[in-house]
Amino acid sequence: MKKYFFIPLLLFTVLLAGCINKKIIDDVNITTGIGIDKEGEQYLGSAMIPVYNPDKSIENFIFTAKGTVVRDLMFQMQQTSSQPIVGGSLDVTLFDETVAREGIPHVLDVFLRDPSVGARVHLAVVDGKAKDIFEGKYGDRGNGRYLAELIESNYKTGNLPLTNLHQFLHDYYQKGKDPVLPYLRQTRPDLVNIAGLALFKGEKVVDVLDENKLFYFKLMVDYYSEGALKIKDEHGESFIKSIHSTYNFKVKNRNPYKFSVSLEVDGMLTEHTGKSLEKGEIKRIEKQMEKQIKKECLALLERFQENKIDPVGIGHFIKTQTRNFDIKKWEESYQNASFDVDAKVKIVEVGVIE
């Protein structure tokens, strides 16, 4: 008798394990994209849900709602949905420029508080309405995946710096650094383009960097920058793809602040419009590219200073170099800081023809 005492108890544990609220994947609406637009005084929220058709194509359905609090939008959408809307697989969240310029603190709180949202969600600011972007039809894997992969692949092999939710929150909460987000624009009903980079001051967008400046920006914030750049000299145009790059900041002087920024790029020549690569041509291209990088990076740093933003994280850098760092003092002296940009370009490969 005593021997079998545990058997009913163990049986209970097995049977009662089913007594929990479950969410079966076929019975929920999995949001892949959330868009926040401004309409009048209220937010216009849209949640995009992929609909899997029997013929294996994917369509998108969009729930919309109006309100002033993001959670309230979700709740209203829920009321129009036959199945619960869940956010465990969210891919992208888009903000229209008006919302982004007013600041996105509400949304930040939602993402921080909700344990079901992953840190790899991609955030972006759009030119126009987020809802319009969702209404297009891109690729054959659903709009959510398309937008996420657009940003991911441009980060991995293009000129875009890392900008997922984690990176955004990291830069937002980091003292002496301001976050950035990709700036998207719909160019065709079936294509979205990365038109630049939205630069934040705290939670508000204050400036938008043009797409052709992204290469220089990424050089200063990311180590293994795989961007590409067009170089023009008297013998024609060349296209250089960066294979590897490093950046190094140094404090040269503290009163007033003077920084030296040294950038090193190992590149690969992928196209050259001249007849052939003459002797010394490579050297010339390297020099030309160095000159261009120096000029453009310095211009960027000065533009950031003018806007009183610090997306490169100079403030954070100086903090790591200073004991008992006073962020208030730094913010005042940031305006008077000056920079020395030095670039070193090495073209290590020219392809299989000369």
Partner: protein
């Protein structure tokens, strides 16, 4: 001198390390980063190493205590203070281990409710878990040891998952090193001590080790390993979170899993938390075993009966501390008592034993 434990019931010296490690590695791992960084900022990893060294010293004292009285701490208390006072102190340990069990199991219930199932019933989950714990205790101390071993070895693969966070971390966050005063480092070490507590259980199961002398190197090795894991985990978290964000994260370790994305698992936290209930299992089993063993010693109640009594009180307390606020209060209260017992009472007891020995010799 106490009755020696039969060799049939003893464990090998190597396994002793796993019991100590299993007790040290509990629910605290999920959120210790925020607490240590409160005082010493991102220099707190130094405090973690510091407290690790202190633990080595305390464990050394614990071995000396057990060797001096040739038994466990229950014998030592009776030896020093006499039967009446000694047993009063001993019965206090019952309460301590019950509260340790509640802190750990209640913490697990809280994590599951916040991250996975908001409507999980603490009563059902707690009672099932405690029944499992009782079942393990019924198997005897060797079974408890076995569970400690598996409760550490099986989930150890989780450590690799933190490599994802390294990719997204900015290790310059840690600079400049030693930007805080020694006092701040000490305060941070004090708050870290709550997380590494639990090694005191050595004082209770010492008679069960087959060859205590040989177990020393394993136990010290285990403590070193745990300290190392804590320090590395802290450094990765400090790189991953900027200070202002870490200050908001109650469970920083879990939040680092948000960045993990595997082709087959969209949200890694679910796997991690489910695995964590295996890490918690030895904690609960050891607490139940120790509390019921003290009951057996002090009140001469059979351990098989005592463990039901202990589990019932645990369950009752878990039902009472079912909100964030109460849980916070309870764990910090429990931590303070634990700190007092491990880092203040143990050295004092050792001094008292030395004095008592000298007095009794005369």
């Amino acid at each position: 001198m106490q009755e020696p434990v039969h060799e049939r019931l003893q464990i090998s010296p190597f396994m002793a390390a796993f019991i100590v490690m299993a007790m040290q590695f509990g629910i605290g791992v999920l959120g210790f980063q925020r607490i240590v960084a409160k005082e010493a900022g991102y220099d707190a990893w130094i405090s973690i190493i510091g407290i690790g060294l202190l633990v080595h010293f305390i464990v050394w004292i614990m071995y000396r205590i057990c060797e001096a009285v040739d038994g466990d701490i229950l014998t030592a208390n009776v030896y020093v203070f006499g039967k009446a006072i000694g047993n009063t102190i001993n019965s206090f340990f019952i309460i301590y281990f019950i509260s340790a069990c509640v802190a750990v199991l209640g913490g697990l219930v809280e994590v599951i409710r916040t991250w996975m199932f908001p409507n999980l019933s603490p009563l059902l989950f707690g009672s099932m878990y405690l029944i499992l714990g009782i079942y393990i205790v019924y198997g005897g101390f060797r079974t408890v040891t076995g569970i400690s071993f598996f409760g550490l070895v099986i989930p150890s693969y989780l450590l690799f998952s933190f490599a994802y966070a390294i990719r997204y971390g900015d290790f310059t966050n840690l600079l400049p090193i030693l930007d805080h005063s020694p006092l701040e480092l000490l305060k941070s070490a004090y708050s870290m001590s709550f997380t590494v507590l639990g090694f005191g259980v050595l004082l209770f199961f010492h008679p069960f080790i087959k060859n205590p002398e040989k177990s020393k190197k394993w136990v010290h090795g285990g403590i070193f390993l745990i300290t190392l894991i804590y320090a590395i985990l802290a450094i990765i978290s400090f790189a991953y979170f900027p200070p202002a964000l870490l200050n908001k994260s109650i469970w920083a370790t879990l939040e680092m899993w948000k960045i993990v994305r595997l082709p087959i698992i969209e949200r890694f936290e679910y796997l991690g938390i489910a695995n964590w209930s295996l890490i918690i299992l030895p904690n609960v089993a050891i607490c139940l075993w120790t509390a019921s063993r003290v009951i057996k010693h002090v009140f001469h109640l059979r351990q098989r009966k005592g463990v039901w009594f202990v589990a019932a009180i645990c369950l009752l307390l878990i039902l009472i501390v079912d909100s964030r606020e109460r849980m916070d209060m309870f764990t910090s209260f429990h931590g303070k008592i634990g700190f007092g017992l491990a880092f203040v009472y143990t050295p004092l007891l050792y001094l008292a034993i030395i004095i008592a020995k000298k007095v009794k010799k005369k």
